[in-house]
């Protein structure tokens, strides 16, 4: 059984640690905030210039001056601070954010990412994506395993790149892969969704990958 969007977000939430400063992208990554354990103190950054992002406001309490990087109305917390976009990306580029979780169109076995542009379609722009993948300490991509039956985990991206050797972990609806982006040790399958077989993953993945030792024994 493939994971639902919520299950993928819950799996991504396992990458959080107490005290982490985290940037969540649009889409499934936004859902991750619903799965932060109550005991855990996690600070959400919004790259337009805010640390300590709260939930969406109650109806009637929206503030036009308070939005996230997806332009959605949000709220502040007791811990909140505001700053300029230059300071915000100084924070990102300078390696001060512990973790970014973002959506992806294509990821390669060496950690290259494409998620901003489809040639032939109108280009909307990369926004802060290139800065985030270049600067954040650990970057997790969350995406469907395939698109219209075609693999999205590739040996080489076909779409224009957002960054090269930037992804540490990929969570799809079928499995989880780690990538040794710094050491060049390639991609390793480390988890399968319940009921998903190694053969199914092999069938739907173009990228080369190793299989983690403990997964092999489980799958055997």
């Amino acid at each position: 059984m493939a994971w639902t969007r919520d299950q993928m977000a819950a799996r991504a939430a396992k990458e959080l640690r107490d005290g982490f400063y985290v940037n969540l992208g649009i889409g499934i990554p936004t859902l991750v905030s619903n799965f932060i354990p109550p005991s855990m103190n996690v600070h959400l950054q919004s790259e337009n210039g805010m640390l300590g992002m709260g939930p969406f406001p109650l109806e009637g309490e929206e503030d036009a001056d308070l939005i996230n990087a997806g332009k959605q109305t949000i709220t502040e917390l007791a811990t909140t601070s505001y700053f300029t976009s230059a300071d915000s990306f100084g924070m990102i580029r300078g390696g001060h954010i512990d973790l970014a979780i973002l959506g992806a169109m294509e990821v390669t076995e060496r950690g290259d990412l494409a998620n901003w542009m489809i040639p032939g379609k109108m280009v909307k722009g990369m926004g802060g994506a290139m800065d985030l993948v270049a600067g954040v300490k650990r970057v997790v991509a969350v995406m469907e395993h395939t698109a219209k039956g075609q693999p999205k985990l590739l040996q080489k991206c076909t779409l224009p790149l957002t960054g090269t050797a930037v992804i540490d972990l990929v969570i799809t609806d079928l499995a989880v892969f780690s990538i040794d982006k710094v050491g060049g040790g390639g991609m390793t399958l480390i988890e399968l969704a319940d009921g998903v077989t190694l053969d199914e993953i092999k069938d739907k993945t173009e990228a080369n990958f190793k299989v983690a030792q403990d997964l092999k024994s489980k799958a055997a």
Partner: protein, 235 residues
Amino acid sequence: MNKIFPDARSALAGILKDGMTLMAGGFGLCGIPQILIAAIRDLKVKDLTVISNNAGVDGAGLGLLLETRQIRKMISSYVGENKLFERQYLSGELELEFNPQGTLAERIRAGGAGIPAFFTKTGVGTIIADGKELREFDGATYVMERGLVADVSIIHAYKSDTEGNLVYRKTARNFSPMMATAGKVTVAEVEHLVAAGEIDPDAVHTPGIFVQRIVHTPNAAKLIEQRTTRPRIAA
């Protein structure tokens, strides 16, 4: 030296000309100088190069200047919300230069701070680095990006004193403080105008040296692009 102007039109008088470079603050529709944008539309200056993170939406923000075809080129990080933009771009009427958002913010800061160029890791290995100088520092590869300045910057602030010391509110701050430093002339529209001494000098976001002209726009409606709420839980 009186920096206060009675309205947006007079605050822009004598500083606009065809072909000029304009910076406009704001992120999406949050913190945009909408009264000044409307005045620029009415003043009909054209062939503008506009540096702004986004391009407004149809009928609001910089969308107003797209409707009137006053913009020749945009330097932005994301323009996804604007159908008119798409049509003008695809027809070749409008030039577009994409910058990663952090690179755009830093280029503007650099321009205002007398830094002609800097190196960043952002965009290395992507089309953003095409044709730009690459260099290694301590084993990693960086791309050189240039500072940006403008003939005029237009920004929105929450509060100003008569000296032009500005305070922004929440995430409406975004690009405006850097743009204030990078404009040869900076014009601020402000929700609240107070006497000098009424803003805590430790809490000033933009010192008055960066603001040449101020217009008080107390009742401008603020627009929300993505009204998102959570349900009230019944008590």
